[in-house]
Structures are given as C-alpha cells and as structure tokens.
Assembly symmetry: C2
Homo-oligomer: 460 residues x 2
Amino acid sequence: MFSKEVYVKRREELKKLVNSGIVLLLGNGEAPLNYSGNTYSFRQDSSFLYFVGLDTPDLAYILDIDNNKEYLIGDELTIDDIIWMGNLPSLKDRAAEVGIQSVVPTSELTNLLKGNRTVHYLKPYRYRNQMMIAELLNKNNREQVVNEYSIELTKAVIKLRLIKSPEEILELEDAGRIGYAMHITAMKMCQPGVSEREIAGMIEGVAISAGNRVSFATILSMNGQTLHNHDHSGILAPGRLMLTDAGAENVNYYASDFTRTTPVGGNYTQKQKEIHNIVLQALNESVAMACPGIKYKAVHRNAYKVIFEGLRAIGLVKGDTEEALNAGVPGLFMPHGLGHAMGLDVHDMEDLGETFVGYDEDTQRDTMFGYRSLRFGKQLEPGHVLTVEPGIYFVPQLIQKWEAEGINSEFINYNKVKEYLDFGGIRLEDDILITDTGCRFVYNKRLPITPEEIENAVKG
Amino acid sequence: MFSKEVYVKRREELKKLVNSGIVLLLGNGEAPLNYSGNTYSFRQDSSFLYFVGLDTPDLAYILDIDNNKEYLIGDELTIDDIIWMGNLPSLKDRAAEVGIQSVVPTSELTNLLKGNRTVHYLKPYRYRNQMMIAELLNKNNREQVVNEYSIELTKAVIKLRLIKSPEEILELEDAGRIGYAMHITAMKMCQPGVSEREIAGMIEGVAISAGNRVSFATILSMNGQTLHNHDHSGILAPGRLMLTDAGAENVNYYASDFTRTTPVGGNYTQKQKEIHNIVLQALNESVAMACPGIKYKAVHRNAYKVIFEGLRAIGLVKGDTEEALNAGVPGLFMPHGLGHAMGLDVHDMEDLGETFVGYDEDTQRDTMFGYRSLRFGKQLEPGHVLTVEPGIYFVPQLIQKWEAEGINSEFINYNKVKEYLDFGGIRLEDDILITDTGCRFVYNKRLPITPEEIENAVKG
C-alpha cells in the first residue's frame, strides 16, 4: 500500500476526468473453489486497488461527484470475528489510511445510489459483481450489466493507470525480481527426465514465497508451438526445448511477465540456435526502437521484419520484405502480438477493454492475421510499461491450413518449413519501461538470454 | 480419472436413489482472477467429477430418470481452438471414456429441461452456476436458486460419496503422500528469521509440483491461537511455535489435511511440551477409539475429556470431569470440532450442507459452544475418511470474554490461564480411514508427531 497522499491524488484526478454523476467502484468478493468456505486466494480488483488501496473482500467505493463526497462501503468486524481472526484495525481506521473519512455499512449501499442519478461503473468481469450491479442498478440481465458500463469512467481510469508513477515502478521492479528468481529456478531444473509439472509447481512456489501468486497461469512446456497451453504433463526429453512464460504478482499486486526458451539439459542444436538468434534479434531491435513518440505497432512490424529476414536467410521464406510484411507472411510463424501493457494486471486493464487500452483515434487495430493480435499498438509515452515478446513457432495445424489453402505460397517454402514440424517454438520476453528518451528494462538484471548464457544457466 | 465402469456404476446407483424427474449436474466454469482472460487455476465441481469424471470447464450433465437417458452437455473445440491448443480428444470421445453416449451442444441445454418436469439440482456455490440455474429454471433471484435445490438429490449424492471405494482410497493416499512432503519441508524451514510467507509459498509449490494445488488455503503462523488466520507476514522468532495446517489436492482431485505445530529452531520449552503432549494424547486416544458403530460425537467428547484432564494436571482447570464436560469447559481451549469428512473436498461435500453430511436422524448437532462446531458427529462406518484434529489454544479475546462474563469460573483457574496469553496454540491433525474393525491412517507414513520426532525433523 502506498501513502495516503497517493490515493487522495488519484481520486482527485479521477474527479476531474469524470464530469458528473456517481462513480461506483466494486471491490471483489471471495471466489469459491469447491464450496463457499474454501476459496481461491483473494485478489482485489485492480482499479479498486489503484484508487482505494484496500485489499479485503466485500468493499465498495462511491465518489459522488455532484456533491463532492466519497464513501467507503463495508462492514466492521464483529466480536466473533475478532475472536477467530485476532485484533485487526477497524475499517474506519483503514479507510483513514487511504484518506477516506466516511465509512458506510453495506446495507446502506442501495440508498447511496437512489434517485435519478448517473451511476458510472466499470465493466464487471466477475459473476458476483455482475449480479451485484444488476441488483443495485435494476438491470434486467447480465447482458445489460456488461453493456451499460461507463465509457467515460473507463477512459478516465485507463488514462490514469496507463502512466506508471515512480512508486509504481518500484513495485514493478520488485515483481521483476521475483520473476527473475522463478526463471532461474526453471532453467536449473531443465534436465531430461524432470516433469514439466514439477518445475511449474516449484516456480509457482517461488512466486508465492516472495509475493502473492503467479501473475498468470504459468506456461511451461516442450510444446511451445501450442500457444494456449497450460498442460504440464510432459517429461523433459533430450533434444527438446522448454518454453517458460511466467511471472509474479508482488505483495502490492504488481506484475512481471518473462519468457525464456531453454534447451533440455543445456545444449542447443544448430537448428535451435539459429531460430533462437532470430527471435533474440527481434527482441533486441524492439527494445532499441521503443521510445516516446513511436507507435508500438511500428515496433511490432519491425519485429516481423527481423523474423521474416532471419527466416529468409535460412531458406524458410523468400521474396521482398515489404511485400511479405504487407501480405502478413510472418503471422504464420508469430501469430501473436509483440506485447501488451503491464501494471496491476499482467495484461493491464484488459477487463476495461483491450482496444481502449492499446488503441486510440490515431491508431486503429489492424485486421490482418497476426497484426490484429497486437494488444497495444498506440504511440508510446514515458511511463508506459510493456512486454516485448517476439517468437517463432511451427504450429503444425496452422502450417497445414495455410499450405492447403495456398496462403502466401509465393513467400513460403512449405517443404522446408515442414522440416520444422517437430521443432516446437521459441519465445523470448522482457518487460520495458518507456523513459523520456527511450526505454529501459523494468528490472535491472536481465535474465540469461543469449544461447551461451542460457546454456550456462541450465548447467549451473 | 477412473475406468469407465466406475462412473457408469456411480450413475446407476444415483438413478436408483432418485426416483423420478431430471438430475442436472452443472460443472464449473473458469473463475476470473483480475479479468476474464486471467483465471484462477480451474477446479471442476466435486460432484460433477464424482459422477462424470471430466475436468474441463463449461460442461453439464443431465440424467433423465423418467426416460432413462443421459446427456453430456458441452461444445466441441473449433478449428481455431485446435490451432491454439493443439490436437485434443473430442468431447464425444471423452464422454465415451466415462460411458456417456450422447453429447449435446450447450445451446440445446434449455430444450432438454423444457416441459413440466422436476429438475433436481444441487445447491450451487459459485455465482456463475447460480446465474445459470436462475436462467435455465426461471428462478427470480439468487435466494430462490439457493433455496430450491433438491434435498432428495443432495442426500443421494452424500450417501454415495461418503463411503470411499478402494480406488478412491488410493487417491487419498496419494494426496497424503504429497501432504507429508509439504509438512516435512515446513519443519525443515522452521528456523528463526525465516518468514512465514516463504515457508507457506514453498510448501504450496510442493503441492502444485506433485498434485493440483493446496487442498485449502494454508494456515502457517506463529499465532496458532488465531483460528481463522491466513496471514503469513510473521518472521519466525525463537521460543515461538509455528502451527502449520496444510494439505494437497492430488492430480485426481482428492484431498489431504494435516496439522503439526513445530517449535521455531527445534527446541520445545517445558510449557510447550506439556501442552503438546496433552494434544497428542487426545489425538492418539481418538484414533484408538474410532471404529464402525461409534459416533464421532463420542470421540470428540473423549478428546475434550483428555484435554480437560490434561489441563487439570497442570493446574489450569479444576473440578469433576463429567461436570466440566457437561458445562462445556474444554470449549475455551478447543473451540472447534475434532474433525470432518474428507474426500474430493477437504471438508467433504460442505457445499451440500455440513449437517446433511455429518448428522442424521440418530445424531443431532449439539448447541453448546465448542461441541456445536463439530462438523461430523454421526456414527462411523467403514469407508468414512475423517480428520482427527484436537488442539489447545489460548485465545486472549475469548479468555477475556469468558472471564469478564464469569463463564465456568468454578472450573477455570483464570489467573493461571492468563500466564499462557502469549503461548499461541497447538493443533495436531491426522487423516483416518474407518475400516471394518477400527481405523487406520490414510497415508501409511505418519508425520513426526512426538516432541522428539518433531525436534529431529526441524534439526534435519
């Protein structure tokens, strides 16, 4: 938690950005695992954390802009609670720590929203909060709830949260430190015969030991070409690559997100090293390019350029670079975007709408396969925090589909590409902060990334 | 997952127990963490697992008893899914593996429930499933949804799930094996200066490495007297005790649940050893006593007896045992129950109603403080799996309350008790299986439990 002044200032800025009406921020409740009393580890809503800072369940916050009043809504502990949970600070004291004077019990929440007033709320992603909004604001169904959120509030929240302040950057560095430890652990364990599950579990343990949790479900697999892959049933086999995409959420809820691809046992084949170095070049050129004023879309396109030219050098593709980029050729090998904003969420503010976060009037999302998957395309500004995560994958089903449909056959040497059907995939990912003049890595120690560094890390 | 025959048989038995109408079992969906695309690790509903065995999100099962038909409801993967997720078996093939022939897309679920038929459903604990039930069955609100569940179906499910079959016992043993490893790790790390968070994180990593997850949020704290305690912010200090209540969910979703209390650095004080040995005697006598035909209520009462007499021997309480037990004196020191059923849930079937699971016409729940917290009181039968978890705690707020209100002052030497206000608490917990003749530990290796064994485990 930050100092009171931080939260007061954020709410003041929010008040300036939303003209009138009532702002309602719902905190999260507990999320049941297999029965109500056995819950997943509690996670507060990120926007609630940003403006209110309190991380206990069942709270809400109201900013009544018209009357210049604010309220924290929640219930004080009972004597029974104190017997079972020990002496905890009262809600009133906790509210005061973040600069809120009025605490109102939950039973009065409905009253605060009465009358013919505009109530601004953010699109709720949890079923509980969808149900609460429906009840509080008399919405007929879930569809109405998720459609009638406030675009004005959404844009205001994104505007504030997207630029990271110095105290937030310290937290992101801390999350980076934990993510670093996770990946070093994974590299050391990357030996033949070890199970993916065991490594994934151990690095999740590192995250929980030092922070709150993993910032997203760890991807750790020899099948790096399967992009949506949370299976950990494999046993590491010699000659294969282990792709690890993992990060931590630190104690103050900020995220890190790194990817490294490691040869099992620590020795690359020539083929693996060639692909690795193309991806590494795409990453390094992206980092060199990222600076205020440039669009991240352009950085993504340049990464595609590096990948196309790298693959051309080893004979997998052919033809003119610009023509190939316009035709979307690199999408076959890297069907995802170069990166995304990161902060209190690993895909920062994805609940508020990816396009609101990553695009604006000056920068529209592309429609072409590959390009269209870029989550963040707009012009970079100091204080943006982004991932940079190029990759090259050989997705058998996608290659078969493109070849069967004759897609880009003038650029792609399908016979050569099919020699890589058992390759898997390589992704490399770092986290950057846009500075006044360029960018820097969020965490100052970079994970091993050259083939030599990674080989040494595996061999310990 | 078990063999097809297991699931077919379970559903056949269910059909016999529910006379008519339609049984609707909803599987779980993904549970969003901080946005829809970032979810908690998926957990299937336990009753769905028990009867259907499939652990992917967004499934439902219908048993139409009147027409002797059954359906799995869910959607097949699209070509896009296959590109991103790899080749996975079709839902039709997966259904066949558990003996279900008809697979119906989600869009047809409403049709299957049409007409004036009785639809039996279990009380839903997740907001998503509450919303689904409301929509599918035209309930007006959440209250109606949770109140109008089928008692007939609930009792049938409990009847079947409560008696563990041989294949389930193997899974419970496996969960015990993982829980054992978690606790040995915790004991070794129980050194001055180590943070509770670090140890809790590492043992959670052990659970995820070898199984699915922790079976419940780990309690690991020097403040063992705070019963509802998930705070891990302490740094272990010499002279204190670390109470660790933790268990694993294995890959097939079965739970373990053990508690050990360990002196930081590995040396007990005399005072700690005395209390420890009373709790240990209560545990050992309970295990010796548990057998078919006895009520678990009686075992709980005997544990209270051991605790009362043990505390009397060291001067904390006085008076006649039977009178003290009737007056509820031990509740001050052990305000919780002796144990609970365990299976696919760590508190088995708590979603279906604790009283349905643990009590029946022959055994009513007590109303007196302490006794009333016993989750499972009824007569034991072969195949029951239960925790045995006596404890002695010195809860300052509770002691103050009782003394101020003069509760049981004829039995309690409050001045002596107050010498223990900084003691914390000790709980010891093992998991037992009721056999034909008595009971045995579910996992055949018992965690270190005598003071000497625990001291040795800490010192490695």
